[in-house]
Assembly symmetry: C2
Homo-oligomer: 153 residues x 2
DNA sequence: CTGGTTGCAAATCGTTTGCAGCGCT
DNA sequence: AGCGCTGCAAACGATTTGCAACCAG
């Protein structure tokens, strides 16, 4: 149970920082905690708002810089939906997944389909590419929002 | 051959404008022409550069505004890769497709796999969503770039 | 004429960066 | 002491908006 993939994120982040000649600080610790606790797809700006409530002295530049480090360390993953902002989701110990987003209420489901993943590989290989990653976002209207719209009619 | 889906884009755009109480202008005509002729995934800024070469009096705000109208009219489709800019591709009369992007040289292939499309529908339906659209970008290294990298070793 | 359209410049949004001071190690 | 870290504010790139002059219907 002490295998490296199950170490806690804080330690992993500290290790990453140390390996790169960087340091763990109270701000970074706090930002990481808030980020992990929230869980969802947080924009840097939103993360900043959350962090500020716990410690108003933290600057937004620090949040932006830290969230980038989290992405580099592999603890966070940057995701971009059809808006103009970069969001981050916790990645440590989590399986790869894609997203199903409700265009009305913005609720987001995580999805995964092995058959699709296989077909993606196959498709890329046929065109001479070696896949390094992919993103797939499905947009639709969730059942709750459809119900709401029917009530209006 | 005069069916509405095969009308030429200029007419379609004029119709769209008229239906919305808007007007066709020389600037809009020029921007549409340049956009269609280029064909690729053009950012508004790049489109502005092209247009400016033909008519330096056109302002960039006009280009940004027009490209948005094109997207609303259905003649263009906004695509966002992993950069920070919105690109537009001609959509009129074109089949839906996804993208396979080389992370080294940024070359982009258009791809389509019916099996994947079907699975996407199925996946969404299972979760109670009605799909309105999707985006799938595959990232990889193309054969040309792989060859280049091997030469360096 | 009227109301949409234009170019310009200023404003905005999300994000990055320069810098002087601070705090680990 | 040295080097990374911080908050601040200014800078940034992409995009949007306010406005007065302009022009299409």
């Amino acid at each position: 149970m002490t295998s490296s993939t199950q170490e806690n994120p804080l330690e992993l982040f500290s290790e990453f920082l140390a390996e790169h000649g960087l340091r763990m600080t109270p701000q970074r610790r706090l930002i990481l905690e808030v980020f992990l606790e929230h869980g969802g797809h947080l924009a840097a700006e939103e993360l900043y708002d959350c962090v500020r409530q716990l410690d108003p002295s933290v600057g937004q530049a620090t949040v932006y810089r830290t969230v980038k480090l989290l992405a580099e360390s592999g603890l966070a993953k940057a995701v971009r939906f059809d808006e103009g902002v970069t969001r981050y989701e916790p990645k440590h110990g989590r399986e790869h997944h894609d997203h199903l987003i409700c265009v009305r209420c913005r609720r987001t489901e995580e999805i995964l389909d092995e058959r699709i993943e296989k077909l993606q590989e196959e498709l890329a290989r046929k065109l001479g590419f070696v896949l390094t990653g992919h993103k797939m976002d499905l947009y639709g209207i969730c059942s709750k929002c459809r119900r709401k719209e029917q009530e209006k009619d």
